[in-house]
Amino acid sequence: MPRYLAILWVFVKNSMQNEAAYRANLLTNMLLTVVGVTGSVAGVLVIYSHARTIQGWTLPETLALLGVFTLMNGLINTFIAPNLNEFAEGVRKGTLDYTLIKPVNSQFLTSFQRCSIWGLADVLVGLGIVGYALLTGFEQGVGPVQVLAFSIASAAGAVIIYSLWIGLATIAFWTVKIDNITSILQAFYNMGRFPVQAYPLWMQRVLTYIVPVAFVTTIPVQALGNRATPLLLAASVLVAVVMLYLSTRLWRLGLSRYTSASS
């Protein structure tokens, strides 16, 4: 049984090796994160200058949502986005072969072998925003139970967003030009900036049942604000497990095509 954590650690270490060499990038990347997040926060503040709540969501809650959004975005930029490009190239050039002859699960290797630690800046900033939002006060008190629920829902949300991305990435086995497909996913994910209740009902349904972005940002914050029933949490975990399973099936399907049809 390969030691997946040890392997992941080497990937992260190597990423730091690479990125740390470009010190100018360090400053600009942090600046970019701050600038981007400031813009997003300002946007939320503008809307709340005209309304006390958005369908029952107060300003601190929506800020916390933005924090979770930024955090998840950071995780995507750290672990997923760099690997997607590498993967599409790998299918095109055939270097995917090297991944396949290693005695480690190929989906795991493909998902994590090229990390970009800059995304972690977004993760930290996102957590910071959530912390700040908590300080300004949620309607309901936040205690250890809520934090636990939040952690579970966030973990489920992270797994869901990973499954969506890797599922879409497997399209590279068939068409190879995936950057456009990923921009569609990015557009859907951007809807996670606001609570899903802020959208019309039909959009809420799309974001819950078709592209389950609702589980990535809205539900974790609902859990934090004690507005998520145990049933909702369970549903969240179930959706995460199902989506992960589907993504592995899709991966295996794509792989079998690669190994039968390519030369």
Partner: protein, 262 residues
């Protein structure tokens, strides 16, 4: 030069036929982000409306915004920056045609052909969200004129920012900053009238209102009388300023590029 322009313009048509899916997705770039704010604002406005704006008015505003956004925005600017960084522009500099012409032509071509995707999408959204327009044909016509000026302005500003690549390696940072300001001050987050005073003034002082919000305000009938004239004056002033800024940056940039080496 007209011939060159024509050539690059028509390559967009070929590109469209060859990569229909890509084209479709690129066109979504102008529509999807404003859609989020359309949805949120119309929910927030609800039955009573917000600050004198009804739900239908928000919808009308954002649908107009989407179309103008498509006609005015520029993706090629980002590739121009890339070209400079990669040194690919060396080859272009040797051609008897200003490299900007190529960028401009493919940009214009893309926008024209992209309407094939944008117009039906906006009509579909109109059927779903039901906009409320309070405007006159005259205002719409003026708005279209303003759109053309705004497109030119956005192209020039964007190109100038891209030219920063002659000096700094991370010009994408300047580009990002431009994008954030555009997001906040061009009317995407909220119609400018709903912004706090400080931001509203900044939007006019900076070119962002002239780049995107002004044409939308005209078409949705928000402006009357003097305000229209002032708005146009501001736009033209920025256009002239941007032109000189672009020329200046280009000349300086090429000189530095030749001195430093590709």
């Amino acid at each position: 030069m007209i011939a060159t322009f024509g050539v690059y313009f028509t390559t967009q048509w070929a590109s469209f036929l060859a990569y229909r899916v890509v084209f479709f997705l690129y066109s979504m770039w102008a529509i999807l982000p404003p859609l989020i704010y359309l949805a949120v604002w119309s929910t927030v406005a609800g039955a009573e409306g917000i600050a004198g704006w009804s739900e239908g008015q928000f919808v009308a505003y954002y649908l107009t915004f989407m179309v103008v956004n498509h006609l005015v925005g520029s993706i090629e600017i980002h590739t121009a920056s890339w070209e400079i960084q990669q040194g690919e522009i060396s080859g272009r500099l040797l051609l008897p045609v200003h490299p900007g012409i190529r960028t401009l032509a493919s940009n214009a071509g893309f926008k024209t052909i992209g309407m094939i995707v944008v117009v039906p999408s906006v009509l579909l959204l109109a059927a779903i969200f039901r906009p409320e327009f309070h405007t006159t044909p005259g205002m719409v016509a003026l708005g279209l004129v303003a759109t053309i000026i705004a497109a030119a302005l956005q192209f020039m500003i964007g190109y100038t920012v891209a030219l920063f690549s002659f000096w700094i390696t991370r010009a994408d940072a300047a580009d990002q900053l431009n994008m954030v300001l555009l997001f906040l001050l061009s009317g995407q987050v909220a119609p400018l009238v709903l912004l706090p005073d400080a931001l509203r003034i900044a939007a006019s002082v900076l070119p962002y209102r002239s780049m995107l919000s002004f044409p939308v305000e005209l078409i949705t009938g928000q402006l009357h009388g003097v305000a229209v004239v002032v708005g146009f004056a501001l736009q033209v002033a920025w256009l002239v300023a941007a032109w000189f800024l672009m020329q200046f940056t280009w000349r300086r940039g090429v000189r530095r590029y030749a001195a430093v080496g590709g």
